[in-house]
C-alpha cells in the first residue's frame, strides 16, 4: 500500500515538474522563434540583428536610432575578452551577426574561417574612413573588417608629483620604486622594454627578447603590481604614481582630475590597438549586419558613438561633429606624430613561445 501511495505522490509531482519544464521551454521558444523567422526575411526591411560587442562600446541611443530607421530589432550582448568571443564563434551554434574583435583576434578569426568576407558594395560609408587605419597587417585590403574604434597603450602619471614625462625610461628609474603599475600582459610589458631599447614592439630576435627580459627582471623590484583591469583606479586613488595602461580608462581618470593626472604616449612610441566590425561566417542576418556597419560610419552617428564611449574612431568627417573636449583630448586623439610612432601588435609566430617562456621567468622570479 505504502509503495503505491508513494507512487501516486511521485506521479503528481512529476506533473508539476513537467509544468515547470513547459514554462521553461516556452521561454526558450520565445527567444528562438524570432531568430528563425529573421533568417527567412533577412533581406527584407526589418528582421533582426544580433550584435556581440565589448561593454560600453555602443550607446543605447545609437541602437535605438537604427531600429527606428530600419525596423530591425537589435539584440546587443557583451563579452569581456577576445578569447570569449573566439570560444563563442568556435562553438558553431552562436547566432551572432556582428562582432567587434581586436586587431590580433581578427587575424585568428579569419584564419579559423570564422568570419565572412564583407560585401563592400553594401557599405556605402567606407569612404569616410581614414586610410591610416585601413589595409592593416591583420586584415589586408579589409576583406573582413571595417575599423570601429581605436586607442593606444601609454603611461598615466601623477604630474603634480613627477612633472611632465615623455619617456618610458621613467618606469626603470629606482626613485619610483613601489610607485609603478604595469599591465599584466606579456606583449604590452615586453613592448615597453623593447621600445625603451629602441626596438620594435614586434621584435622576434630571441637574443633581443632575452635582453628585454633582463631589463624587465631588473625592473620588477620597482613594480608595485601587474594589473590589466583596475590600473586607472589604482592611479586615481594615489596608490601608484605611474600606471602603464590602455588609454580609455586612463583618459577617464585624467578627465576626472586633470590638475593632478596626465596621460602620455612616450616619445619612443607605444602600442596602437584597433577594434573592427566584422561578420561571423555563420551569421544569419548578413544584410542587416552590413547595414549596421555602414550606419555606424555615418558621420553624425559615428560622432555620437565617440561622444558616448570616449574612444577615438577612424571616421574623418565625424571629426567635425565630435565634442571639442573629446577631439582635443590627447589621451583619446593623440596628435599625428604620436600616432605615427605607435605600432599594432603583429603575430610573432614562433617567437611567441620564446616570449611566453621569458615572461613566465620574469613573473615567477
Amino acid at each position: 500500500m505504502m509503495r503505491s501511495a508513494a507512487f501516486r505522490a511521485l506521479s503528481s509531482l512529476a506533473v508539476l515538474a513537467s509544468f515547470a519544464a513547459a514554462f521553461a521551454s516556452c521561454r526558450g521558444r520565445e527567444a528562438a522563434a524570432p531568430a528563425a523567422s529573421a533568417g527567412a526575411n533577412a533581406t527584407a526591411s526589418g528582421g533582426e540583428l544580433h550584435v556581440y560587442i565589448w561593454s560600453a562600446y555602443l550607446p543605447d541611443a545609437v541602437v535605438e536610432e537604427f531600429r527606428r530607421r530600419t525596423g530591425v530589432e537589435v539584440t546587443v550582448d557583451v563579452y569581456d575578452s577576445n578569447e570569449a568571443l573566439l570560444a563563442k564563434l568556435q562553438s558553431g551554434v552562436a547566432d551572432y551577426d556582428l562582432v567587434v574583435p581586436s586587431d590580433y583576434m581578427m587575424r585568428i578569426l579569419a584564419h579559423e574561417h570564422l568570419l565572412q568576407p564583407l560585401d563592400r558594395s553594401k557599405i556605402t560609408t567606407l569612404g569616410n574612413l581614414d586610410p591610416r587605419f585601413l589595409d592593416k597587417d591583420f586584415d589586408r585590403g579589409n576583406r573582413y573588417s571595417v575599423p570601429y574604434l581605436w586607442g593606444t597603450t601609454g603611461l598615466g602619471y601623477d604630474r603634480k608629483k613627477l612633472g611632465a614625462i615623455d619617456s618610458w625610461a621613467v618606469l626603470f628609474d629606482p626613485r619610483h620604486k613601489g610607485r609603478i603599475l604595469m599591465l599584466d600582459d606579456v606583449r604590452e610589458v615586453f613592448g615597453v622594454a623593447l621600445r625603451t631599447m629602441g626596438r620594435s614592439i614586434n621584435e622576434r630576435d630571441p637574443k633581443v627578447l632575452a635582453q628585454a627580459a633582463e631589463l624587465l627582471e631588473r625592473q620588477k623590484p620597482l613594480v608595485a603590481t601587474y594589473d590589466s583591469g583596475d590600473f586607472a583606479n589604482v592611479l586615481a586613488a594615489g596608490d601608484v604614481d605611474l600606471a602603464h595602461g590602455y588609454n580609455g580608462q586612463l583618459a577617464a581618470a585624467v578627465a576626472a582630475d586633470p590638475q593632478r593626472l596626465a596621460y602620455v604616449v612616450p616619445k619612443e612610441g607605444g602600442t596602437l590597438w584597433m577594434d573592427s566590425t566584422a561578420i561571423p561566417a555563420k551569421a544569419r542576418n548578413v544584410a542587416n549586419a552590413l547595414r549596421f556597419i555602414s550606419y555606424v560610419q555615418e558621420p553624425e552617428v559615428n560622432a555620437r558613438i565617440v561622444d558616448g564611449v570616449h574612444y577615438a574612431s577612424a571616421n574623418v568627417p565625424a571629426r567635425k561633429l565630435i565634442a571639442p573636449a573629446i577631439l582635443g583630448d590627447k589621451a583619446i586623439y593623440p596628435d599625428d606624430t604620436t600616432l605615427a610612432r605607435c605600432e599594432l601588435l603583429a603575430d610573432l609566430g614562433d617567437a611567441t613561445t620564446v616570449l611566453d617562456r621569458l615572461w613566465t621567468e620574469v613573473k615567477s622570479q
Binding site: S4, A17, A24, V93, N233
Partner: protein
C-alpha cells in the same frame, strides 16, 4: 581551595571565554561583510572613480535604470534563476525521494553520479555542454543557459533533500496511513512538511548558485542571454564603476529579502514539528 572560590574562578573563565568567542564572531562577521559594506557605501559615491569618496548621490541608481544592457541582464538572470530553481527543486526532490525509498537498477551509479556535477570543474562542464549543444544543433540562447544550469544545480537539491531524508522516521508515514490517510494526504501532510526545510534550503542554494554563475554561463549563453554576471565582468573590463556597485547592492537587497521570506515560511513548519514532537 574552597568550593565557592573555584566556582567563582570557573565563572570568571566562562565569562572570558564568552567575551573571546563574541569578539571572534564579530571579527568573522566583519571579515565576511566589510567588503560588502564598502561596496554598498560606494554605490552612493559621487565620484566616477571608485576609490575616493567625494559625496552622496543616487545618480548611479538613476543611470542603472536607464541602462538597457544591465536591465536586460537582470531580467535574464532572474528568468534563468527562477526557471532553474523551479525545475531542479521538483526534479531534485523526486530524485532524493527515489534514492531514499526505492531499490532499482543502477541506483549505486545514480547515487555517485549525483555528486559529479558538484565536483567536476565548471570549466569542464561549460566546455562539454557547448560541444554537446554544437553536436545537437541547439542554438545558444536563454534556453541553453537554463538547461545548463539545471544540469549542474539538480545535484544540489538532491543532495540537500537526501540529507534531510536520512533522518526521516518512516513510522510517522506508516502511522498516518494506518489512521486512514490517503497516499497523497500522507505525502502532503506528513512527508512534505518534514522535508520542506531541506527542499527550501536546496531551492535557495540553487537560486543563488544559478544567479551568480559565471563560468558555465559564459560558455552556453547566446543571443539575448547575457546574464548579470556576464554583464558585470564585461563592465569590469572598462573599469569598476559605481554602477556595478549599485546593481550589486540591489541584488544583495533582493537576496536578503528572499532569505527573510524563506525563514518566515520555514517557521510554521518547524513549530508544527515541535508540536508533533511534544505529543509523541
Amino acid at each position: 581551595m574552597s568550593f565557592a572560590a573555584s566556582q567563582a574562578r570557573l565563572r570568571g573563565a566562562a565569562r572570558w571565554q564568552r567575551a573571546l568567542l563574541a569578539t571572534h564572531a564579530w571579527a568573522v562577521y566583519l571579515f565576511l561583510y566589510a567588503p560588502i559594506l564598502v561596496l554598498v557605501l560606494y554605490s552612493f559615491n559621487r565620484s566616477q572613480r571608485t576609490a575616493v569618496w567625494t559625496g552622496f548621490t543616487l545618480d548611479w541608481y538613476r543611470r542603472l535604470f536607464a541602462d538597457r544592457g544591465i536591465l536586460r541582464a537582470v531580467d535574464n538572470s532572474l528568468i534563468v534563476a527562477l526557471a532553474t530553481t523551479a525545475i531542479t527543486t521538483v526534479a531534485g526532490t523526486l530524485a532524493a525521494l527515489a534514492l531514499a525509498r526505492f531499490r532499482f537498477l543502477g541506483k549505486r551509479a545514480t547515487q555517485s553520479g549525483l555528486y559529479l556535477p558538484v565536483i567536476v570543474p565548471e570549466v569542464v562542464i561549460g566546455a562539454s555542454l557547448v560541444t554537446f549543444f554544437g553536436v545537437a544543433g541547439l542554438r545558444l540562447s536563454l534556453a541553453t543557459v537554463i538547461i545548463a544550469h539545471v544540469g549542474f544545480c539538480l545535484s544540489y537539491v538532491a543532495i540537500v533533500v537526501r540529507a534531510r531524508l536520512a533522518g526521516f522516521d518512516r513510522a510517522l508515514e506508516e502511522a498516518a496511513a494506518d489512521l486512514g490517510a490517503p497516499a497523497w494526504g500522507v505525502f502532503r501532510r506528513v512527508t512534505l512538511p518534514l522535508i520542506a526545510p531541506g527542499i527550501l534550503a536546496g531551492a535557495l542554494l540553487v537560486f543563488t548558485v544559478s544567479l551568480d554563475d559565471y563560468v558555465v554561463t559564459s560558455f552556453v549563453a547566446g543571443v539575448g542571454s547575457t546574464t548579470l554576471p556576464l554583464q558585470i565582468y564585461s563592465m569590469l573590463k572598462v573599469g569598476v564603476t559605481p554602477e556595478v556597485n549599485a546593481v550589486s547592492t540591489l541584488l544583495l537587497a533582493l537576496t536578503i529579502v528572499l532569505i527573510a521570506i524563506a525563514q518566515r515560511l520555514q517557521r510554521p513548519a518547524e513549530s508544527a514539528q515541535n508540536v508533533r514532537g511534544d505529543s509523541r
